[in-house]
């Protein structure tokens, strides 16, 4: 089975419910990811963006609802089929998650060596090609500890595309990067998506960076999709919640203040007995 579905939606989530303890992370989430596009998923910290990715990759199972990736109904897959599906996906973790005691070269070669019996000469060719694509062919013999945060992420990106996946998933790819590295990653996401014919999902809360790459955006809040559409449409939308997030306003439907007793009473000490 493959992910070579016809044009249209490569990934579909329908009525997904998922809870962590008593906390409902998703309560009836619907989302579709179109094939060949870069889709952005935005939302404040803790809304479940990472959880969403783990549901798509099958690392978590929803309590109810359907998660379809290509022909796969993810929650119903056994471990063997799950690994078969993941071989057609690449994922970029926030800090790269490179194997610390392998060199850059061996990190990128890792999936090839695990899953294929290619001769070393061919592996070398593939790995150096991918490293070249992220501009780090010269760093092949270094260890991850010797690289900057931005370089780590680029190596991880080379590793994520080494098996020529159909889907590439980025979890918070811009966090903690300097502006130059950020620009490099933004351009790489766009270029790889178009050059390799991928479907990309970018999870982030960096509205400005996403504006440059996203074809289509979702805004998550309180367990469901609160807005969807082209990025520019979202910037112009004027529901208070969307406006607050897209323009970074401190107070709004997502309150600036952690719930507290009334300010005046608190200062006079009358709120004390409730503490």
């Amino acid at each position: 089975m493959t992910l070579a579905a016809p044009e249209g939606n490569l990934i579909e989530l329908r009525g997904v419910r998922f809870r962590r303890g008593a906390f409902r992370v998703f309560d009836g989430l619907d989302m579709t990811i179109p094939k060949g596009k870069v889709t952005a998923v935005m939302g404040p910290s803790g809304t479940g963006k990472t959880t969403l990715l783990r549901l798509i990759t099958g690392q978590l199972k929803p309590d109810a609802g359907s998660v379809r990736v290509g022909d796969y109904e993810v929650p119903e897959l056994g471990l063997g089929r799950l690994y078969e599906m993941r071989r057609q996906m690449g994922m970029l973790f926030q800090n790269g998650a490179l194997l610390t005691d392998f060199t850059v070269f061996d990190n990128v070669a890792f999936p090839l060596r695990e899953h294929t019996r290619l001769p070393e000469r061919l592996i070398r060719h593939i790995v150096l090609t991918k490293l070249h694509a992220v501009g780090l062919r010269g760093a092949a013999t270094l260890f991850p500890g010797e690289l900057s945060g931005g370089m780590n992420r680029r190596v991880a990106l080379a590793r994520a595309i080494v098996m020529d996946p159909d889907i590439l998933i980025y979890d918070e790819p811009f966090v903690g990067l300097d502006p130059i590295s950020m620009g490099v990653i933004v351009r790489l996401i766009r270029r790889l998506n178009d050059a390799l014919g991928l479907t990309s999902i970018v999870v982030s809360h960096d509205v400005n960076e996403l504006e440059q790459v996203a074809d289509h955006s979702y805004l998550l809040a309180e367990g469901r999709v609160v807005a969807a559409g082209a990025h520019r449409e979202l910037m112009e939308e004027d529901s208070p919640l969307v406006r607050q997030f897209m323009h970074g306003e401190a107070d709004g439907p997502v309150a600036y203040h952690f719930p507290a007793p009334e300010y005046g009473e608190d200062l006079l000490g009358r709120g004390q007995e409730r503490r």
Binding site: T57, R86, M91, N95, A97, L98, T100, F110, E114
Partner: protein, 255 residues
Amino acid sequence: MGLVREIGATFAAFIHALGSMAIFLGRLIMYTPAGLLRFRLVVQQVHNAGALSLVIIMLSGFFVGLVLGLQGFDLLARFNSENVLGGATALALIKELGPVVTALLFAGRAGTALASEIGLMKATDQLSAMEMMAVDPMKRVVLPRFLGGVIAMPLLVAIFTAIGIFGAWVVGVALMGVDPGVFWSQMQSLVSMDDVREGIFKSIVFGVAASLVAVYEGYTAWPTAEGVGRATTRTVVITAVSVLILDYMITAALL
């Protein structure tokens, strides 16, 4: 009342941990045939675990042998039977001190290194990344390290025991003047094949226990710096206690 409840809770937690460790061991054993096919990964881990512990095991073995020689000589001299010094120290080392002390040192050196290595891989998403690359971290990371420890332990016990006997010889023969011929012949006549088998059996059981605890604690660690720290501490404590309990049970069963 508080104490009783605390003991009860500790006991319940202990049984729970024992259960999940048993399931974990079951999975490892199920994967072992496949793991042995990639023997290069295992050899690498035998080398890792062995090389980490080798120096401290040789050093400790030598000093344990020296002390055994001194104490043994002092005790046996009271019965005018210094001649059995070789046999007595060899028995103590082969049946008890070799396996037990080696396992404790292994836990402190190689076990903590294993637990923190696996825990850190988890905390930095390396294990999740492997899952996403369709590689099972149980097979690729945990299993080779477990098997490496299991294979390394009997080798380390043999080295510890041999050097310990040498230490006892240094004290008994070179320092205290026990006749070398008697020292060795007494050892040969006193130590039976059953004693050696008991020592080997213990070293295998302790090897499984020490390696299991280390990889289990690493793999189930809370994925933070603090969690990894806790996992290494727990590795030493749990291994030490279980090795001593297992030692008693095996000794009692074989007597």
